[in-house]
């Protein structure tokens, strides 16, 4: 059975291991104020070897396994930078729910491009880098999947509401 998503604990584990990343996708939208609900956490990690080593340590602590449809427990993989460096996208199941790593999300080359416009969002005693709402929207427009079509009207409306609040 898939564990419920516990994003605060998940992100806290990444922070504890000093992983550099940008929160993307549905969770980023939620952090910007979207009332939509997401079933997994997506991040775009910095792909430097040092950072991938820190990320691998965090994944070990999270008991991460490769998520595969029909395989409830998922598959083991090597918790090391070498494995992660060969990946473009990894879907994982962890102690704190489903967790996806995307090294080049749709519309972007990777961490360096996303972090440029990312915003720091305070969560508890720490803060995390979250892709800008404009970048979240752009990625979903480029991905162009049915689930993106379903979410985009809400994100456009959110962008509009935030702009109105900023003006007033």
């Amino acid at each position: 059975v898939t564990k419920p998503l516990r994003p605060i604990e998940l992100l806290a584990t990444l922070e504890a291991h000093h992983v550099r990343y940008v929160v993307i996708g549905g969770l980023a939208a939620v952090l910007h104020g979207s009332p939509t609900v997401t079933g997994d956490a997506d991040i775009c990690p910095d792909s430097s070897t040092e950072n991938l080593t820190r990320l691998a340590d965090a994944l070990r602590e999270l008991h991460a396994r490769i998520r595969v449809a029909g395989e409830l427990d998922g598959f083991e993989f090597a918790y090391d930078a070498a494995f992660l460096s060969r990946m473009k996208m990894v879907n994982l199941t962890t102690d704190f729910g489903d967790f996806d790593l995307s090294f080049a999300p749709a519309g972007f080359s990777g961490y360096d491009e996303l972090v440029e416009h990312a915003v720091e969002v305070p969560i508890g005693s720490t803060s995390v880098n979250v892709a800008s709402l404009a970048d979240v929207i752009r990625s979903k427009e480029v991905a162009n999947r049915p689930k993106d079509h379903a979410t985009l009207p809400m994100l456009y409306a959110l962008q509009d509401e935030i702009a109105k609040r900023d003006e007033s």
């Binding site: 059975v1 605060i8 939620v30 009332p35 079933g39 969560i123 409306a157 509401e161 609040r165």
Partner: protein, 80 residues
Amino acid sequence: LGTKQSAVSNWERGIDVPRVDTLARILDACGFEADLTFRRHDDVDRSQIAGALSQSPEDRLETVARVTELVGLARQGDAA
């Protein structure tokens, strides 16, 4: 305004509406100006957005956690 009384009467009775340029003249005469904003058409319930924006980011994440837990419990119930 340079408008006939009968036209004004029609606006007042809801039979007709002023053209955009006429509306601009009416507003100008009253000391206002029109500010038109184009927005994508959507059927989004913006009160939900207002509710989410009033929460802290941490509270938004707590909401996600609670909802996904409920969804998981519901799925377990369906499978049983």
